[in-house]
Amino acid sequence: MLQFLQNLGKTTRSSFAKLGRASFFLTHTLAGINEVLARPNLLFKQMYSVGVLSFLIITISGLFVGMVLGLQGFNILSDFGAEESLGVMVAASLVRELGPVVAALLFAGRAGSALTAEIGLMKATEQLSGMEMMAVDPIKRIISPRFMAGFISMPLLAALFSAIGIMGGHMVGVGMLGVDDGAFWSQMQASIDFQEDIINGMLKSVVFGFVVSWIALFEGYDAIPTSEGVSRATTRTVVNSAFSVLALDFILTALMFGDI
């Protein structure tokens, strides 16, 4: 029992210490944003590896998710004779929830893990301390551009995911199951609200982009500089990002859509 309490105390203390380091890291990273803006080339390069290289996985997953929504939605709606509302259902689920959330989860797996591994290995091979000795601040030079690239890419990827997903739903619903094309689009246009749905969905993905990039970069920077340490940090990035995204999604949904 005493042992348990002792361990609990230790874990709590080290979690708080880590939280402190993470906050310090974040402030330092944000302070470097100015310099990134002054050297946009650094940002473009990272936008490519963080954002552009995630296109494929986002596109394909978006398509399949949209197609499944089309099938399932049609099954349920046709019981009530409301197949025409398929467009609304597909679009609302994607724009409000699945777009931001699934895109963020995929982003954590595709780009977040890569960022953690990259930074962790740079630390393990002394590239970060080498930079420090060359009087170059590794957080500003290496971390800030990556953070900003992740932060900017995430909403764009989520929007791409939703758009492709709607096309997937259309393909299945209209193309295969015979829902009326005009009704699919017009009902969607009538019911999806720009402020309520699209802006809120974007807002969610902005938050997720911030959090996932922060977690991924911090885990890499804080990794124990060995192969095992980097591999553990990579796992933690994916797990912690997933938890944070899902928990934040609930909180944000409650604030935006719920009357709690």
Binding site: M122, E126, G130, M133, M134
Partner: protein
């Protein structure tokens, strides 16, 4: 003797430095001075903390007690900005090379120039090629770090360390992994850089012969203390058993080859 020089002649001056890693005392109140314009060697068995000492001088680690002054400034009292300004005047060659793996050799050497100067690309090119020529790797400028051997990587790192023409360079094991020819060339290079650019060099090395050939002054560290110091000639003739052992590479003697450990036999027989 370095210690008798006036304080202004010392580019680095360390007084009463203590540093621990966990329970292990790496340095226990050492003091030493590095004279400006000279080549000073720091030698000692593996694991005594030579790399740690360089990191303390560079301000990457903070001492538990004692002070380190570099060029008149207390390294651990400086603001981040001043520390970075000081570091531009210090070059450091890492034991591992620490090249940036996402850039080729050319861009690695150009990196500090691009970060800290606004020189036009043509000027950067000439500077980079000059530095690479000096380490004999001008022809390797398109290679990526993973295509270099360990010895080549270290020479590229050397070219990068001298790119900004620093006041002082710290070499961590510059000779390891070099064949006799490039070793000879490196020894010559370090010596000539020191005289032509009026640099100060600190060399951490195990290669007693090569280092003794170019060093003006040598400190021998062991178990957190300075166990010997002096010019190479003085050390060769030293009557301290420790220094003799080190200079001649004897396995037996007062300096232990083993990391501190429990008795070997007990260790083998015990179950834990």
């Amino acid at each position: 003797m370095a210690n008798s020089a006036s304080p202004e002649d010392n580019i680095v001056s360390i007084s009463n430095l203590s540093f621990s890693r966990g329970p292990r005392k790496i340095f226990d109140g050492i003091s030493l001075d590095i004279q400006r314009g000279k080549i000073t060697a720091i030698m000692g068995p593996s694991g005594t903390g030579k790399t740690t000492l360089l990191k303390l001088i560079g301000g990457q680690l903070a001492p538990d007690r004692g002070q380190i002054h570099v060029d008149g400034q207390n390294v651990h009292r400086l603001s981040t900005k001043d520390l970075y300004a000081l570091r531009k005047r210090m070059g450091m060659l890492f034991q591992s090379g620490a090249l940036l793996t996402d850039m080729n050799v050319y861009n690695n050497v150009a990196f500090p120039l691009r970060e800290h100067t606004h020189l036009p690309e043509s000027m950067i090119r000439s500077l980079v090629l000059m530095k690479l020529q000096a380490v004999g790797l001008r022809g390797a400028r398109h290679l990526m770090p993973n295509e270099l051997s360990g010895g080549m990587a270290r020479r590229v790192a050397l070219a990068r360390a001298i790119a900004l023409d620093p006041l002082m360079i710290m070499y961590d094991e510059p000779f390891t992994g070099q064949d006799p020819i490039s070793m000879g060339a490196l020894v010559h290079l370090i010596k000539s850089l020191n005289t032509t650019l009026s640099l100060t060099s600190i060399i951490v090395s195990h290669d007693v012969q090569e280092t003794a050939a170019i060093a003006d002054y040598i400190y021998v560290l062991s178990e957190g203390k300075i166990i010997g110091q002096g010019s190479p000639q003085e050390l060769q003739q030293s009557d301290s058993a420790w220094v003799q052992q080190f200079m001649h590479g004897d396995a037996d003697g007062p300096v232990h080859f083993h990391y501190p450990a429990a008795d070997y036999l007990d260790d083998l027989l015990s179950s834990k």
